[in-house]
Amino acid sequence: MSGGDRQGPDGPVIICRCEDIDEQAIIDAYNAGYRTVEEIKHKLRCGMGPCQGRTCTPLILALLSRLSSKPVAEIALSTQRPPLKPVPLAAFRGLGRRNADENEC
């Protein structure tokens, strides 16, 4: 399928906002042999930004489903990892001590 001629009102369709990856880049990667969510992530960084794929992953799944003619349920996800949203490293200082103190109360 072509699929690559879709333009938003002002230009390309952005799929990954964190890393500024558009639909055409993903279609090109797919056509070059990068067929899984994981491989596309490694190639283009989709899902590695601050939103950790919450915006782009459903869009990539839909796109891969369309390109491969497979239902979304059959497309493997990449591993989801913490934190759920960005947290400053400082928030973890003294965590064990604080937990221990609370348990003593």
Binding site: T36, E38, E39, H42, K43, R45, M48, G49, P50, Q52, T79, R81, P82, P83, P86, V87, P88, L89, A90, A91, F92, R93, G94, L95, G96
Partner: protein, 381 residues
């Protein structure tokens, strides 16, 4: 998929792909790589991707320096746009006088091998990394040509170049067993069928021991989880990788702007666990606060882990296993597989093809463990 190859490479990490490329470059093109997941899905893609020549044994220094030179020219050699290679240097911290003594010895050795490292005072270290506080800093060493690259891109570059030369790269293809007849592995059995082979290379990273056992080879290796995290991207702030062997900590800002930092846990059990823990975040937060408190304000976006494939002396095993006589080992990198892959890929291909290797790695053979000739590397995280 081919049913007969000259060389079957088990493992689609950076070393497997680099060996495949170099074999093809040297004229051996009937080569296949078998990878259970996708390329770089094992230790390669999980690593901190530091590249340094500041080591404590001569062989590690020479292998890493040769690789550093190859990384500099890799986009050109492999016709690949960008491997995100950044040469911001490595600043190695000494937090006690004995640690400084070891680093001084390392720098003396490195100087004889052409590595541009030098000893720096605490004040100089803080000029190189302005947000470094580290009140207990005794001194440091710095080498400006060390750096960092993108492991996905390096692996991608090698695999694409290998494919262009005719190598078959199979992902989602697991090696399940091997058939040994006489003194040779004659066949690898994969999840997509059997393949006859002239030689086999074990480049299976954390699973090198499992793969070697399929050929009846026992390896003195084990795997161990190392945890790591990445922060949100920020403006350029830190040139070099900052590393402390005594804390087991490293911290680097990538060209993308994010910081990648991790810490080893001396009590980590052996095994294949690649999960994550909150205790790691707490330990890291405390130690980063001790060295570079400004960085604790950065927001973490993701934590993950990968396996080191450890040997008794924290150096790789390179060469023939002995029996079977066509089974080659490229494993046990103990946390520095990516940074040595450019030269290791070349050396392994040369040895497999019966050529003189660029650097003699005879002392890194499996036999050193039986002979008790360990090459203990003092400077690992």
């Amino acid at each position: 998929m081919k049913t007969s190859v000259d060389v079957a490479i088990v493992g689609g990490g950076v070393n497997g792909c680099a060996i495949a490329y170099n074999l093809a470059r040297l004229g051996c093109r009937n080569v296949a790589v078998y990878e259970r997941g996708c390329l770089a899905s094992g230790s390669t893609g999980r690593c901190a991707a530091g590249v340094r020549a500041q080591w404590g044994t001569e062989l590690n220094c020479r292998l890493s320096l040769a690789s550093l030179h190859k990384f500099e020219r890799l986009p050109e050699e492999l016709d690949y746009p960008d491997i995100e290679f950044k040469q911001g240097g490595y600043l190695i911290l000494a937090l006690s006088p004995p640690e400084m003594e070891q680093l001084r010895k390392n720098v003396a050795l490195q100087g004889t091998l052409g590595i541009p490292s030098r000893v720096v005072t605490p004040d100089e270290a803080r000029r190189i990394v302005p947000h470094l506080t580290a009140p207990d800093l005794v001194g440091a060493t710095f080498s400006p040509s060390d750096g960092h690259c993108n492991p996905f891109k390096v692996t991608d570059a090698y695999s694409l170049a290998a494919r262009r030369l005719g190598v078959e790269i199979n992902t989602a293809t697991e090696v399940l067993g091997m058939d040994v007849e006489g003194q040779r592995v004659v066949r690898v059995r994969t999840s997509r069928g059997p393949v006859s082979c002239g030689a086999v290379v074990d480049a299976a990273g954390p699973y090198s021991g499992v793969v070697a056992a399929m050929a009846g080879v026992g390896l003195p290796v084990y795997s161990q989880r190392h945890q790591i995290l990445v922060t949100e991207p920020v403006a350029p702030l830190q040139g070099p990788m900052v590393i402390s062997f005594s804390l087991g900590l490293y911290c680097q800002q990538t060209p993308h702007g994010s910081f990648i930092t991790g810490i080893g846990d001396p009590h980590e059990p052996k095994g294949f666990d690649t999960g994550h823990s909150w205790e790691f975040l707490e330990d890291l937060a405390e130690k980063i606060h001790r060295l570079m408190p400004l960085l604790t304000r950065l927001r973490i976006v993701r934590q993950w882990s990968g396996s080191y494939n450890m040997t008794p002396d924290a150096q790789a095993i390179l060469g023939l296993a002995g029996q079977p006589e066509n089974f080659w080992l490229t494993c046990g990198f103990s946390g520095h597989g990516l940074m040595q892959s450019p030269i290791v890929g070349e050396i392994m291909a040369q040895m497999i093809l019966g050529q003189e290797p660029t650097i003699n790695v005879g002392r890194l053979g499996l036999g050193r463990f039986e002979r008790g000739e360990l090459l203990l590397e003092p400077s690992v995280v």
